[in-house]
């Protein structure tokens, strides 16, 4: 686009030039031989979304709506009830918290396969008789610390040990499950009497919703705020999008990477508290295959597996799609085989829908 300023000025003191962008779009450009198209070129479409990752998640919402319609048609009595919605949210809460952490890691260009195993380990550690003897608050702190600690190890191996994230977190997956089995002697550890506060997260309701749904909501909001409103979030996009550029801009990429995995581990620790609340147990079998579910939710939500782009809202929508699918299947009494087939198809359709909406909105 052409500038309207005089040649000499341009050459000698561009900084002095105070011309605003509006002027450029003005028809004054006309004289220089470019009419309408000029403004068009320069300004782009009005309402062009600032960040691609934050394109309104129309496709996902559409997919969810479609699922809701299916629910209303096939199981009208049970689907749209308050208690079913609560149940869906409660189901989504555990993986949901993990998905928030996974979104950070993936936007930051990494991947965390260890989430389910770390959650299991945290749940086991927090429910050993030794830990339980200190009461519920210590149990919660323990779960969160174990999660964050495992995350730190992941981050350290990746950032300073220079292991590929896939391998480092796969090793953590395997080792954390082993450790969880060892600690629990492969037994399911019940939350003991006196520590029911933990279980009450699931049984106590506030305004009709179990407390753990509030925990979930809190984590999502906190995640959103950190990702979109803080320097940490901004750096996460930079580190994932172009680590070299981030480094040359003075960001300590390695340290940031460590924090990203620690954050993911922290989320696993919180998720461990929720799963303890829901199942009343800590167990080395908790969280099996969560890694696939969490990553799938993140990707369906529009985050690039290569990093640098994505959003929390998308991930949570992606996760809700999965949760609603399972809910619908069971409400309809489908057997597992048919569930699996249908789930595969729905994933494909949801993503295609999303793509279509992205395309038409650009």
């Amino acid at each position: 686009m052409e500038s309207a300023k005089g040649p000499v000025e341009a050459a000698e003191s561009p900084a002095a030039n105070a011309k605003g962008p509006v002027e450029v779009v003005k028809p004054s450009a006309d004289e220089r031989g470019r009419g309408e198209a000029s403004g068009h070129r320069s300004a782009g479409r009005p309402g062009w979304p600032a960040r691609l990752g934050e394109v309104p998640h129309l496709g996902l919402v559409a997919a969810l709506a479609l699922l809701a319609v299916v629910g209303l048609v096939t199981v009208p009595d049970s689907f749209a009830t308050g208690s079913n919605l609560v149940s869906i949210l409660a189901l989504a809460a555990t993986i949901g918290v993990i998905t928030v952490g996974a979104t950070f890691v993936i936007i930051g260009g990494g991947i965390d396969l260890s989430v389910g195993a770390v959650m299991a380990l945290a749940s086991v550690w927090a429910t050993t008789l030794a830990t339980q003897s200190y009461g519920p608050l210590v149990m919660i702190v323990c779960a969160v610390l174990v999660g964050a600690g495992a995350g730190l190890v992941n981050g350290w191996l990746i950032a300073y040990g220079r292991l590929v994230p896939f391998i480092a977190t796969l090793a953590m997956l395997v080792a954390a499950r082993g450790l969880a089995q060892r600690m629990s002697d492969r037994k399911t550890q019940l939350v003991q009497q006196g520590n029911e506060m933990i279980v009450e997260l699931s049984t106590t309701r506030l305004l009709g919703l179990p407390l753990l749904v509030y925990v979930f909501a809190l984590v999502v909001v906190a995640g959103w705020v950190v990702l979109n409103r803080t320097t940490f979030g901004r750096r996460t996009y930079a580190v994932g999008g172009n680590p070299e550029a981030a480094r040359l801009a003075g960001i300590d990429v390695r340290r940031h990477t460590v924090w990203l995995y620690a954050l993911s581990g922290l989320c696993c620790g919180i998720a461990a508290v929720l799963i303890m609340a829901r199942t009343t147990t800590g167990s080395s079998t908790h969280g099996d295959l969560y890694e696939l579910d969490a990553i799938a939710a993140v990707i369906i939500g529009g985050t690039l597996l290569t990093g640098g782009r994505g959003s929390i809202v998308g991930s949570i929508l992606g996760l809700l799609i999965f949760t609603v699918i399972t809910n619908l299947f069971i409400l309809n009494g489908l057997n597992t085989s048919d569930q699996l087939i249908a789930k595969g198809l729905i994933i494909v359709v949801a993503v295609l829908l999303q793509r279509r909406s992205l395309r038409s909105s650009t």
Partner: protein, 325 residues
Amino acid sequence: TGNTPDAPAAASAPAPAATGGNDAPGDKVVIGFSAPAADHGWIAAIAKNAEAAAKQYTDVEFKPVEPTNDINAQISAVESLIAAKVAALVILPNDGQQLNQIARQASDAGIPVINLDRVFPDKLSYRTWIGGDNYGMGVAAGHYIGKTLKDKGVADPVILEIQGIATLPLTQDRSKGFEDALKTYGFTVTAKQDAQFTVESGTKVTSNLLQAHKKIDAIWNHDDDQGIGVLAAVKEAGRSEFFMVGGAGSANAMREIQADSGVLKATVTYSPTMAASAVKLARLIAQGKGMSDLLENQVPQSITLASETITKDNVAKYLPLGFES
């Protein structure tokens, strides 16, 4: 198959049989052991019971191999035991059919195979099978539920079934037994879902099922390990209009039954003590001994444990046998 609650649990008693001098040290034998990965209480109890039984004997060297849920790896594990020329093999296969060939190889190589729990389809593949009665378990649960509902005079009851791993033949046997027994009362299963034998999946499946069915009369849950999750979901939903029957007989389930504070009113046994018995049988077979209580000179070809129904009334007697999940 018995669901007589007061039948003594002889075959599942872990205490050493004190008869006939069978426990007197004999030839030194190496007994190989292979089972699925101990990722839940029942299987863990299997591994533990086997090892504990072996430890009782100075003439037994116990040689367990990596428990795994990968068929391919279990085949390799058994191969390594064959190569090590053990005197007898105790195998709880991930899948009897898939492991059949390798068990057959062992038998052909002259190593007696004691087949534990999940059965090999080919009788040439094993010397003796010992296991629970899966069909009988279903029958026991079906009778308990059927009779209770009939007594209450419930017509057209909503009966749910929460299975374990759906792809296991034993699950299918259990469901069949359940269905057959219910039929005798004119009842059918309203809905069933499978829950992977894990606590978490028990919670997940149940909380959805409870949404699907606003009024339930009875639930049979195949497995007491996953049952902890099932009960948690029930508690979370605050539901209590129905009663529930468990499966396998974990100590935890028995305590719940004893306390009688929740929906769990009974469980039907499928005792992991069978592993201890299997090791004992393996020793006898390897040493060429018979079972001294029996008249025959040889260990029998198959032993089926009875599935017993544990309720509040008889739970005290069973509690010591329950395994910790």
